[in-house]
Amino acid sequence: MKFLGLLWANLRRRKTRLIVTLLSILVAFFLYTYLSAVKTAFTSGLDIAGADRLVTIHKVSLIQLLPVSYAQRIANVEGVEQVVHATWFGGYYQDPRNQLGVFPTTEAYFDIYPEIGISDEHMQAWRRDRTGVLVGMASMNRFGWKVGDKLPITTSIWGNKNGSDTWEFTIAGTYDAAKEGVDTTAIIFHYDYFNEARAFGQDMVGWYILRIDNPDRAEEISKEIDALFANSPYETKTSPEKAFMQGFMSQIGNIGAIFIAVVGVVFFTLLLVAGNTMAQSVRERTPEIAVLKALGFSNPRIVTMLLAESLLLAVLGGGAGLGLAWWMVTAGGDPTGGYLPAFFVASGDLVAGIAMILFLGLAAGLLPAWQAARLNTVEAFRKVV
């Protein structure tokens, strides 16, 4: 700690350079942290995907429907503990820009997804109300809805028997995330109501989600299910939930690869900027380093001091960038106003950010510190005189 004053004084010797370097590090780590929250938003489903859950869809594509009667046959497969179905409703609220994830399903959905938190009171209210919906808290907050509100949802897919594309629901209750990363933007309503009221497609569902007793048997069970429906008009494709989600994400693009590419380029550029700053800073005080050596500062101590100085620079800039982005993500929330299912900085990304700050500090200071250690004191004095 007693060297901290010396480190800080050295850092501040050229204030403009210090500010510019700090700002560049700050911006880079702000970008990293904020983008990591965006990446999390797009991949959060992968993180919470259960290893013991499989998804069965139509072999051709997700938008092709499957008969609801498959549920019982799938449930009879050895190793399958529970089956539930869901269907993509494709609705929006008032304006097509207010797209929502709306799914008709059954109560078993909440058994299969224990990470969705719902109170008994709201569950009972939903059971009692045939046109009731359960709304995730993100959407409740986004639109300022209250329990009991009438909720008109318009769909471009499912017209109802009244000849209207707009379905009238009542908000029976809400659900929230019992685990970080769970999508709380979706709206869930009764499949029975949906099946009776829709104008076409009766007794057909979008996909099945099933829980199995042993994740190690996932492949075997998947094959067995798909074999059940082979050569039928509705052939199936069963896969672990994570693989299913990855396939779904890949339709948007490889968010993870884009994230890594952007962060990689920024980080490399930053390493050059910070390294150059440190190298310049050390080069211009060659005589001072020679003086320190003459006073009795050993080479290991000089190396430690310069690395600490470089670390201090990285920690100040990187810490500020990381903290600022974390605050903006936490306090500001989803920048799309609720489109993203989950928007937060994952703890793993925070830890990786801190590790990158430390790496940047050490890597940027390594070469100048090594050069300072090699500095010949007598030669350095001779050049000055």
Partner: protein, 237 residues
Amino acid sequence: MQQATRLSDDATLVRVADLHKQFRRGAETLDVLNGLTLDIPRGEFLALMGPSGSGKTTLLNLLGGIDRPTSGSIHIGGQRIDTLSDSALARWRSRHVGFVFQLYHLLPVLNAEKNVELPLLLTGLGRKERMTRVHAALELVGLSDRAKHKPAELSGGQEQRVGIARAIVTDPDLLLCDEPTGDLDRKSGDQILDLLQAMNREQGKTVIMVTHDPHAAARASRIQHMNKGVLADASEA
């Protein structure tokens, strides 16, 4: 000011025997010191004089442990320093030697107080004790009122006095001064020489001063001339 480790109390503080130093300049080898032998008693104020290239500064650097001889030996206070490891030599320098440079070599980002404190950062002393010693050293050189000033806010003479305070703050046995008045006007130079003389007479420091200036050398208790890497003659002041 007390010092934790004292060198041996032998009457001879510096003992140099058959010292050689060669430098390489491209393919050429320069013999800067050629078998120099020299004893310096404890408490002496020695002036080293001689033409440029005679090896004065090289000898000073070797005595201060910031350079190593090609051959020969250097004992200071009974301890042979030319065979110490780099780290041990750095530790030895911090305890036993104070340097005063021609160009002062203060750190421009630190004020006088912090510059003087630098050598004490290598000791185990707490902040309070360090500050006590720093202020004692600054008072000794007459700069108590300039403690918070940075080098750019001081005159050359004041900068050199801060340099001397930095050299003596660890209470070393040996003060090595390389042209300490070389960059100063006569009046400031005289003040610095007064100070070095006082350090020698009142604090008992052994002072070795390299100088071209006969006026400065006259303040020493002994003048030693050098030429072509050996001692030329000796004269008592």
